[in-house]
């Protein structure tokens, strides 16, 4: 069975500073990895996902995450954050090859707060 751990429940950073949100997973098989973002009073949106291929994946709004198999990590990074990035971020994992979306396991979330 898989599990996912988000080590930080809250991350406060100053605007235009870099940020890293940590995510570690546990699985005995190959995995797919996801980052979702939940803006205040909204539902979740897929930010980026790793299915196969390049271990570095990017989103359209400047976030990137790197799949590190040896460290079983999928940390999310952004070199310069904006006030609009204030949200809760969820890391998720699933076994690769499964067609059922029900196999996605979500982390407990990291609340990113940006200070002006």
């Amino acid at each position: 069975a898989q599990s996912v751990t988000q080590l930080d429940s809250q991350v406060p950073v100053f605007e235009e500073a870099p940020v890293e949100l940590r995510c570690n997973y546990s699985s005995s098989v190959s995995v797919y990895l996801f980052w979702y973002v939940q803006y205040p009073n909204q539902g979740l949106q897929l930010l980026l996902k790793y299915l196969s291929g390049s271990t570095l994946v990017e989103s359209i709004n400047g976030f990137e995450a790197e799949f590190n198999k040896s460290q079983t990590s999928f940390h999310l990074r952004k070199p310069s954050v904006h006030i609009s990035d204030t949200a809760e971020y969820f890391c998720a994992v699933s076994e690769s090859g499964y067609s059922s979306a029900s196999k996605i396991i979500f982390g407990s979330g990291t609340r990113l707060s940006i200070r002006p």
């Binding site: 539902g43 979740l44 299915l51 969820f90 998720a92 059922s100 979306a101 029900s102 407990s108």
Partner: protein
């Protein structure tokens, strides 16, 4: 294009009552998923419907049930409500029930059980 919609936004019930939550997927999407987001517990998968059939369910008791209608909208029913059922219930839809297809989430229904 309209996104996933859920109703009601908020729902307050008492222990033992039944709650019905509704979800309308994005037009053209046939798969609907339900998740429970309880405080401090992250998102837990509840149910997956596709083409009107229940395809899979998470580790929840049978008093959590639902259905998908011919127009692909869906209902989640929670019977014999308990205090710990208080949570944000999120619905998502996708074109097909595969991980390669992005799930689009609605804003959720916040259920409070008193």
């Amino acid at each position: 294009e309209a996104g996933v919609t859920q109703s009601p936004t908020h729902l307050i019930k008492t222990r033992g009552q039944q709650a019905t939550l509704r979800c309308s997927p994005i037009s053209g999407h046939t798969s609907v998923y339900w998740y429970q987001q309880a405080l401090g517990l992250g998102l837990q998968f509840l149910l997956w419907y596709d083409e009107g059939e229940e395809r899979n369910r998470g580790n929840f008791p049978p008093r959590f049930s639902g259905r998908q209608f011919p127009n692909y909208s869906s209902e989640l029913n929670v019977n014999a409500l308990e205090l710990e059922d208080s949570a944000l219930y999120l619905c998502a839809s996708s074109l097909a029930g595969t991980l390669a297809d992005t799930q689009y989430f609605g804003p959720g229904t916040r259920l409070t059980v008193l």
